[in-house]
């Protein structure tokens, strides 16, 4: 009884007064504690927002309702465009055939320390699935036919956990684009063209054709590797047609009218894997034919 009385007074005297807005803000956050915002978890972000009393520099990349949070705080929410994880590697089993077999701990971190990769490409995806383990939203999985990770765009929130964990920096967080349509170079190999092609038929060889074609100066070629700046790219897809190795991918575009059956490389992200590996695999043998299909 005495203890209860003491406890009652202690609890009154040392009561922690917390801003009720923290709870309200936290309610509008996803609660996955992915850490994509840079804080330890959703509640930590909520506390930081309330404490700073601004939304500048605070943003939930994982689908938190920033508008609703702005409402709670009585602030304006800046419009932001959704981001998505993009796997920039073409090294499927067909494009980059395995020369050796990996038989060790299923960890990209470890694999990268003991060898260049089954295809011998020292830049490409190792396929051990560190990104899969890092994803808190079940949005990335290894496709067992291509051996490459595939991002589920519906689930991906662009938090960047996968990109951060990838030891080869194959995954990039890019603008999702209008209707999910976007164009990117699906390769991170910085070797010279011949060396890159030796290990992977769909590698970027740094020829620079895409950069010359681009009307918006969105493409730069550095260290034998082309990169499309997603803030400048207008998704005209001229570079896709120009690329001799098919390293540039355009995804989620509708098939062109003249050739409805053309298996655009767009299939890469959305269509089942069996279909995806086929068009890319044709590239090395018939680069010209591929170009034609795309221009049709």
């Amino acid at each position: 009884m005495i203890a209860a009385v003491i406890l009652y007074f202690v609890s009154k005297a040392f009561k922690v007064i917390e801003d009720p807005r923290i709870d309200e803000v936290a309610e509008h956050l996803p609660g996955a504690n992915c850490g994509g915002c840079g804080f330890a978890g959703c509640r930590a972000l909520a506390e930081a927002i309330v404490k700073a009393n601004t939304l500048d520099g605070y943003k939930c990349p994982a689908g938190g309702d920033m508008k609703a949070i702005a409402g709670v705080m009585g602030l304006e929410a800046a419009e932001t465009e959704p981001m998505v994880a993009v796997v920039r590697c073409n090294g499927s089993c067909e494009n980059a055939p395995a020369k050796v077999k990996y038989d060790s701990a299923l960890s990209c971190q470890f694999a990268t320390s003991i060898y260049a990769g089954e295809s011998a490409c020292p830049f490409g995806c190792l396929g051990c699935g560190d990104c899969v383990k890092a994803c808190k939203f079940d949005a990335i999985h290894i496709d067992h036919i291509t051996g490459l990770p595939v991002v589920d765009e519906e689930k991906c929130v662009g938090c960047g956990a996968c990109a951060k964990t990838c030891p080869r920096k194959v995954i990039e967080i890019r603008l999702k684009g209008k209707l999910g349509r976007r164009v990117f170079v699906s390769c991170v190999n910085k070797e010279k063209g011949a060396a890159a092609r030796k290990n992977c038929s769909a590698a970027c060889i740094g020829c620079g054709k895409c950069a010359k074609t681009c009307p918006f100066e969105a493409i730069t070629v550095e260290n034998n590797l082309a990169y499309i700046d997603f803030t400048k790219c207008k998704s005209c897809r001229k570079c896709v047609a120009e690329c001799p190795t098919g390293a540039i991918h355009a995804v989620n575009f509708p098939p062109k009218k003249e050739a409805p059956a053309a298996p655009a490389p767009a299939a890469e992200k959305t269509a089942p894997a069996a279909e995806t590996s086929a068009p890319v695999a044709e590239n090395p043998a018939t680069p010209a034919a591929e170009k034609e299909t795309l221009q049709n």
């Binding site: 038989d103 960890s107 971190q109 320390s113 003991i114």
Partner: protein, 440 residues
């Protein structure tokens, strides 16, 4: 019999090639010499495309503190200097030389006779080690001259020569003890002068009785050199374990052997130092065992650095059931994923594992049987480190002493669940090391 006290395992010895004397491997038509053949910074190339080089001529100069000189292993013309894939498949800068004849650089004594009297002083010996690009040939390839730059407040009590050769299969050190004992002793004398140590102890595992007998006989002529028989137990040749076995001293965590007044070098390094000090000959060759259970043509080769691994394998003939080829011993070596790569300093073995041997068993859950804890020579708890590493709890990794791991593989060796314990510990060690460095 002396040994270290904690942990250790007894893998099958498989010293299959022990009866085969060292043979010279023919000089190849072209060599590729990496500018990084050691621990530390790459050396800077001092030759250009088209230059004529002679055997033993400097081609890569050490400019950083932890770095070693690289010399041409052949005479000929520099064909190109460009990044070439090493045996892991990663590209490193290398000098490619087309071989023409076998003309040695001036000042190198190519005679085979034993030169006993050491005329150089302490500093001259250390300078010679540096000039001749001597690195630790036990496997880590740490630049040797750095070891001998003893801080002024430290004194060297013991020079320890590692001739344990505890890795299964490898027999080059054993052959060296039998064939080159005299040279090795002179090398050790030079190392005694360089280190200022009063005594040198050579630790040899008990499974090489003829080597111990021969070394003891030769060492009788040298009053400061003793041969010590060690218990056959892996990893007897690991630096800290060898110090414990020979001197009963414990190297504190995170410290170097000099902390307890010891310098440790491999017996192959002693031979290289003999050649450097007495013959002015840099490291241009590596002693390599080619072995494996189904290899018929077992060899101990003395091969020029930069020789294509494939050439060596073709010379002995690769058995059809080969599943994996390892550079180094089966415990600590690394699987070769690029057979077009070349030999480097300290490549002590090419091990051809049969397909059956090279397959890993199915991985099961950890049984908490404690075999790995029992085996760990550093007194760590490998199963915990494996778990923390997998969960990316690197703070806990640090607390459980992951940085003390010597990566000997004793934990993985005995695991009844076939867990890749060492593999994950290596990941964790890497990450924890980065975390600690970032903190500073």
């Amino acid at each position: 019999m002396k040994t270290f006290k904690i942990g250790g395992i007894h893998p099958e010895e498989n010293k299959l090639a022990k009866a085969n004397p060292v043979e010279l491997f023919p000089i190849p038509k072209q060599v590729t010499v990496f500018l990084t053949q050691h621990l530390g910074a790459p050396s800077t190339p001092v030759v250009q495309k088209g230059d004529k080089v002679k055997v033993g001529q400097l081609i890569g100069k050490a400019e950083a503190f932890i770095c070693a000189n690289v010399h041409s292993p052949v005479s000929g013309t520099v064909a190109k200097i460009e990044p070439v894939a090493d045996f892991l498949g990663y590209k490193k800068d290398a000098v490619v030389i087309d071989v023409e004849g076998d003309e040695w650089a001036e000042g190198i004594d190519t005679s085979t006779e034993l030169k006993k009297d050491i005329t150089l002083t302490k500093q001259e010996i250390i300078d010679r080690m540096k000039a001749c690009g001597i690195v630790g040939l036990g496997g880590a390839c740490f630049p040797t001259h750095v070891k001998y730059m003893v801080p002024p407040d430290k004194k060297v009590d013991y020079l320890l020569i590692n001739a344990a050769e505890c890795e299964p299969y490898i027999t080059v050190d054993y052959r060296m003890m039998l064939e080159r004992a005299d040279e090795v002793m002179v090398g050790i004398e030079a190392m005694l002068i360089a280190s200022g140590a009063p005594v040198a102890l050579i630790g040899v595992e008990a499974n090489k009785p003829d080597a111990i007998a021969h070394l003891t006989k030769v060492a009788a002529n040298y009053k400061n050199i003793q041969v010590v028989e060690l218990k056959t137990k892996y990893p007897q040749g690991a630096e800290k374990q060898l110090i414990k076995a020979l001197t009963n001293r414990n190297v504190p965590n995170g410290k170097l052997p000099i902390e307890v007044g010891c310098i440790v070098n491999n017996i192959a390094t002693a031979f290289a130092i003999y050649e450097a000090v007495q013959k002015n000959k840099p490291i241009i060759e590596t002693f390599t065992t080619v072995s494996g259970k189904s290899v018929k043509n077992l060899k101990n080769y003395r091969v020029r650095i930069g020789t294509c691994i494939n050439d060596i394998l073709n010379a002995v003939g690769v058995p059809e059931d080969t599943g994996k080829i390892i550079s180094g011993g089966p415990m600590m070596g690394k699987a070769i994923s690029n057979l077009n790569a070349v030999t480097v300093k300290g490549m002590s073995s090419l091990l051809l594992m049969t397909e059956k041997e090279s397959k890993r068993g199915e991985v099961y859950e950890c049984l908490r049987c404690g075999k790995c804890v029992h085996a760990c020579p550093m007194g760590l708890e490998p199963y915990m480190l494996h778990a923390f590493s997998e969960l990316q709890r690197y703070e806990d990794c640090e607390k459980y002493g992951i940085m003390n791991c010597i990566e000997c593989g004793s934990c993985s060796f005995g695991c009844p669940s076939n867990r890749p314990i060492l593999d994950m510990i290596r990941v964790g060690k890497n990450k924890t090391g980065a975390m600690i460095r970032a903190r500073k």
